[in-house]
Each structure stands twice: as C-alpha cells, then as structure tokens.
Amino acid sequence: MNKLRRREALEGYLFILPGLLGLLIFMVGPIIATVAFSFAEYDLIQPPRFIGAKNFLRLFSDPLFAQSLKVTFTYVILSVPLSTAVALALALLLFQRVKGLAVFRTIFYIPSVLPSIVSAVLWIWLYNPQFGLINYVLKLLGIQGPRWLYDPHWVLPAFAIMGAWNVGPTMIIFLAGLENIPRVYWEAATVDGANAWHRFRYVTLPLLSPTTFFVVVTSTIGAIQTFVQPYVMGGGGVGGLGAPMNATLFSVIYLYQQGFRFFNMGYASAISWVVTTIIILLTLLNFALSRYWVHYSVE
C-alpha cells in the first residue's frame, strides 16, 4: 500500500474510533453478559447458574416462541411496506411548493411527539368495535367493521395502521433525502418531456434510493423489536400481555415476559439472541440485495 493509502486508512480508523470506543465501553460488557445469561438459568436475584444449551433446546419445542415469531413477522410484512409508502407519499406531498409548508410538516410530525400513552388510549377508543370512530365511518360506508383489537385476526393490521399514521420521523428522513437531490436533474427531465410520474420513477426514486434503503432496513429492524404498542394496548379478552389469545405476543414482549415477569432471564436472553440473529441475517440480506436497486452518487 502506498503512503497516501496508508494515511487514509489511518485517518479512517481515527474517525471511527469514538464509535468503537463506545462499543467497547458500553456494549461489549453487556453483550458478553447476555450471551453468558443465555447459557444459564438466571432469576435476577440469585447468581446465574450454567446449564449449557438447554435454553436454546427449549426454544425449539416452545409453541409460544413459534407463535411470537409468527406474530412478529406478520407484523413486519404488514407494517414496513405500509409505513415506508405512507412516509414517502407524505414527504413527496410536502416537498411541493405550497404555502404554509412549514405548518403542514409540523402537523404531520406532531403525532410522534405526543407521549405514547396518550395516543395509545386514543387509538383504543378509535378502534372500539361499538363506539369507535373507525367502525362508525365504516358503518356509514355500509361495512360492518371488525372487532379490531379484540379479534386475533385484526389486531395486527390495527397496529400496522397505527404505525403508518405515526410516520413523522420517517417522513422527515425522506424529506432530508429529497432535499439532497439536485434540482438540476428534475429540470433536465422535464425539458426532456418527462411527466410527474416519469420524473418520480426515473429521477426521484433512484436518487432517493440510499435513503429508501436506510428506511427499509431500519424500519425492519425496528418492526421486529416492536414493544411499546402491544405492551400498552394489547389486552383484549381475559388475558394480559399478548392477548387476545397470544395474537400480540411479539418477540420482544415474549422475552420481556419471560425475563421480567417470570424470572427466566436466561431463557429471555436466549430468545433475544435468536431474534438478534434473525435481524442480522435479514439485514445482511438487505445489504446484499441493495446492489440491485440502490444507486449511490453518480461518479
């Protein structure tokens, strides 16, 4: 390697050094600890007791774990495309030259600022089968609305819709991405006779792809780790966490329940590592596929 290259490499390491340090100080210890926990029986009070791979073996035959995976991935498939599309649509809408742009953007961002307990209660009421606004509107359209949060088949779509409405942060990420696209390209395309749709498909989308990639990857990672919504809102029927009939037993809810309710922190850690492994694999997949549709800067 020549001197310039070596210099650049050294600088590279220096630049990322804070990140690596942070990893070392704040993450390495806890990560090693949780890996150790996953091979142990740990009830939070007595010290952990090594039991080998028993936790992992248990995972294979645990119907609730299988259920939690099913719930989580159904939700991912429902919510990631929906949220991404909605966030992008809103960002595009708000990218036009409209009067009062700043106000509109703020309005769409506000839902994500309200503390989650407030919006959770509101949505519980909105989804109410008898008195809620949503079924009321559906009734006006002549449709008999489902029982939403009390129906195992509809509770996940209900959450996905909530998630789609709560896209403020994603929307502004797309906005930032849109801002970065040089106006020149759109102007050139218009001159060439492209209409709005063409401009979107052949200029906006490709040039936005690094941002879109980011959104898809992080939304997927986030969706797999969903916790707050089901924790606050799940509970139709007689059961508690995971109700109705375990239809909201997301993986992180399940691991929380095992660790913090049932004192099985070892098992919870094992669940956690399986989930993390799945996330890693999915992310790697995303990265590998990215070369087919993500275009970085034009060199």
Binding site: Y13, P18, G22, M27, A176, N180, P182, E299
Partner: protein
C-alpha cells in the same frame, strides 16, 4: 398561447387538489392533539364518561394550574433540558464524524466494522438492560444523568447509518479534489461534508431531541430520587393504580410536547435552506 393557459389551469387544478388533500390529512393527523386538548379541559368526573364526549361541558383551564402545582415541574423541566441538550450535542458531535469515516474514507475492514456498529441497533433494549444497569452501578452512575447522555458522545448506530447513507450520496470526486488541493481530511470533513449534510444533520438533531425528551425507560430505571426525574417520568405520576387522571395527564402531556414541536418547526425550516447548496455542482 392557448396551450400555455391550459398548462396554467391544469397546474392550478392540481394545486388546489393538493391543498384539499393536505387539509384533510391535517385534520386526521390533528385528531389526537385535539382529543388530548379537550380531555385536558374536562371536569374530573367527565373524563370517565363513556362513550367519551368530544367537547367538555365546561372549559376548565384551571386543570393546567392544578396539574402544574401537583409536582415540581420546573425541576423536571430543568432535568429534561440538561439531559436532552447534552445528548443531542453528543450525538451531533460524534455521529456525523464517525459516519464520515465509514462513508468516505477507505480502510480495510470498513464494512465489517460498520456492521459491528450496526449490531447495537439489532439487540432489543430489554435484553441488555440488566447488564447495563450493573455496569452503570459499577461506575457509580445510578441516580445520575450520565447513563442517559454519555453513551451518545460515542455515536449512535441509527444516526451513523443515516448519515453514512447521506455522505455516500455525495460524489467522492469532491473529496479527492479537495485532497489534491492540499486540504487535510479533518478540514474536508468540517468545512465541506458537514455543511453539505446539513439537512441530514438537522434531521438527526430533531430526531434525537424527540427521542431523548420522551424517553421513559431510561429515566425510569437509571434514576431514583424524585428530584432527578424528567418530565416524562413526572407525567407517569398521573397514572394511579386504580384509575388515571386523564385530564391532568393530557394537560401536561401537551405542555411537554411543545418544546419538541418548536424545535422541529425551527429545524425543518433550516432543512429547506439546504436546497441552494446541493444545487451547486
């Protein structure tokens, strides 16, 4: 000439459609805010009524005063401000810096190390909560603000990823040209890339502000003494064991939401300002 007029009419039509759509959507998006506001004005008895009325019978603005006097909100406010400011500062200092390293500079193991940093995003929060608590206890940081902002000075995986994507969208020729001109890498970062990434950096600031301002678990677990509590933790106090004081809760929730909204409003105006710069080629 006729085609020109047609074009203008067409544009006006779509423009009006756009406004209508935006207004309808705004109404939908403002529903929770509106509901929280009307709840905050309700009488204590009325909040339990079912089905809930949209408009309170009487407008009890004194709910705000009552809620305010129930807890030391100014202390909570001060705590939240300290923690959030430091956290945002740390994030803005470290994350773009680290992202630049991953995006622009070339060094062996670049991809692997980046993935390692991303790994932290892929581990559920509750998993590492107990060991992190123990770590912070060893450091003597329990019941202090440190666990809530110090880690941010070392970068945040989500934002590093975001900014890396952004930086990678800037042609590398810029970097190489500046290098040839004799600029040091640090200068290139600070004087060229950082300003160019202004929309993304502001976005990061806004998002981190919102996240830390409304963080509940962190303060819940790592803080002990009531005088260290943050605003969100204070909000928690309105949730009783048997029933919740919704009117007070909504009142203070709205008040607490104001700083992030203001921050956002100011910040996103600056994002627009980025247009002229990226138009430069």
């Amino acid at each position: 000439m006729r085609s020109q007029r047609l074009l203008r009419l067409r544009r006006k039509f779509w423009r009006t459609q756009l406004y209508v759509l935006l207004i309808v959507l705004s109404a939908i998006y403002l529903v929770p805010f509106f509901w929280a506001f009307t709840t905050s004005l309700k009488d204590r008895g009325a909040i339990f009524e079912y089905p809930p009325r949209l408009f309170p019978r009487e407008f009890r603005f004194q709910n705000y005063l009552e809620a305010f006097s129930m807890y030391p909100w100014l202390t909570f406010f001060r705590n939240s401000v300290i923690i959030t400011t430091l956290s945002v500062l740390g994030t803005l200092l470290s994350s773009p810096f680290i992202a630049f390293g991953f995006a622009v500079l070339r060094f062996p193991g670049r991809r692997a190390l980046f993935f390692l940093v991303l790994l932290t995003m892929m581990i559920p929060y509750y998993t590492t909560l107990i060991p992190r608590y123990m770590l912070f206890k060893q450091l003597g940081w329990i019941d202090t603000f440190y666990p809530l902002f110090v880690p941010d000075f070392f970068g945040n995986a989500f934002f590093i990823f975001l900014l890396r994507q952004y930086f990678m969208g800037i042609p590398r020729s810029l970097f190489e040209a500046a290098k040839i001109d004799g600029a040091s890498t640090l200068r290139i970062y600070w004087n060229i890339y950082f300003p160019l990434a202004r929309p993304a950096v502001i976005t990061v600031g806004i998002l981190q502000f919102m996240t830390v301002w409304s963080d509940f678990i962190g303060p819940l677990i790592f803080l002990q003494s009531p005088e260290h509590y943050t605003l969100v933790l204070g909000l928690n106090a309105f949730r009783g064991v048997y029933f919740t004081y919704w009117h007070y809760l909504c009142a203070m929730a709205l008040v607490i939401s104001i700083p992030p909204i203001i921050f956002f409003f100011i910040g996103q105006k600056r994002i627009i300002g980025g247009i002229t710069i990226s138009g430069l080629k």
